[in-house]
Amino acid sequence: MSRRYVFTWRRWINWLNLASAVIVFFVALPLYWLIASSFKIPRAIGASPPQYFPIPLSASNYTSAFLHYGFARYFLNSAIVSVAATMIVLAVGSLAGYGLGRLPMRGKASILLILLMIAVFPEIAVISPLYLLMRDLRWLDSFQALILPYTAFNLPFAIWIIRNYMLGIPREMEEAARIDGASALKTFWSIILPQALPGLFTAAIFTFTACWTEFLMALTFNNSNAFRTIPVGIALFGSPNVIPYGTIFAASVVATVPIGILVFVFRRSVISGLTSGAVKG
């Protein structure tokens, strides 16, 4: 029995598994530190030498994040802004993806290239005009102050993803619908859209993740406590002199879990989206 055990144990020691273990170790260790620290008692957060395991386990950071730092409000704001922007991106982006993917438009190639460039453009380049515009419209500290720019900034990449899926749909179905006398909008709605669902789904995950994590515009446009999103809320926790790491990490775990589950469960969609510009495109 023990010989057999040694044999299998040896079989697992090879450079490939060793390398994998090293990769997981470096990726996971900071994540462990985030989670472990969120469960430490306040005194243990600043302990030197550090407390490597959160004993005693405490949920006080979590209650403090929600009760004293109003984290529930930030979470709700992030959810409202991200869901609304994602819905609009899907509605507007699927139409544009269909047009750019399957309809004969002149200058299509240039539009797609310009969209790709906008997708990678630095936010700082547009922040001050948008800020002045929002101020004139009295939109600062409102949901639309983030929903509108998030929609516009995520549309280009979403259109790319959706368009790439639209290209793969067999043309016979479209032609059959046309011969049956279906209108263009009806063809789009009942033939194309159902086929492109995986693409819409991938675009939705990307848009939602981008909105959930965006910081610069949220910081600049929505600085009042009532409209702060999670990243701004977490960045501005505490005073300049005291950084409440325990509370920050508790809030961080709560903010990371939904997006972590989303990405973990739908990792195939995420990976296909990440590579759609690079490999398939």
Binding site: P30, P129, S252, L274, G281
Partner: protein, 316 residues
Amino acid sequence: MRLRDKVAEERPQNTGTFRGSNANQLARLGWMFTSPALVLVGAVTVFPILFSIAMSLSNVTVSGNGFTMSGFTFSNYSALVHSASWRYALGFTIFYTIATVVFEIIAGTAIALVLERLNNARGIMMAVLLIPWSMITIISAELWQYIFEGTYGVMQAIFGALGFGRPVFLGSPTSAIVSMMVADIWKTTPFVAIIVLAGLVMLPSDVFEAARVDGSSSWYTFWHITVPLLRPTITIAILFRILQAFGIFDLPFVLTGGGPGVATTSLAILGYKVMFENLDFGAGAAVATSAALLVLFGCLLALKAFRTQVGGEGSL
């Protein structure tokens, strides 16, 4: 450029999508479907970029009630060129971008090569790699700030235990820059690894078969077959990463606040401070425009390089 080639080659097929139907009518339909998106993107991205350029070329005064732009002037730009902080921010951003992207490409490719050889564990490994990628940058910045903390940070304890003394990670310019790179590399190398892995999986297996039959060593195969075939994929990864790294804001904003001093002040941090702390919108717009122009320049350069490359190899 692949993308354009691909688009171009699809155009004739598209015109013939519906036999017997009017191509002009379909084109009009296409514009109708596309215009909401184009109007939205134009109004919220293209228009502000142009407006920002206009602001950078005039005297802007912001008051409580509104703002006024007057006159045409290059003064914002001449102030920029003569400003030591802009020159430092430019140099820092370029250096930082090159250093992190080079490291990420090497490490990301190595990770992709390991993952490609895994069978059962690959899916789980990729899911683990996606967590840092999907994380809020502000959270990872707070986390690394805690790790690098000067009196009780865990990195201090690790360095102490290994006998390297107790460096003040975020307290001196060089170590703050290196610490920021470590935090950035942790978060973005997985992105590179996943893109490169997708490229690796799609490589034609018969080439590797032939190399094996010919008795090519694995080192030789890697440098003379894998790397050249992967080049288009790696180019895309480099392009995306350079453009992201060039606009870096969230990480230094929280991790170091641009300091100590101005050591980690990127162009985006500088632009933000000039605009929203000094309330100098003209100069801030000039900083932002300088970053945007460099990104645009990089884009055009990369597209050209990419197109010639694909023209030569084509197959992938």
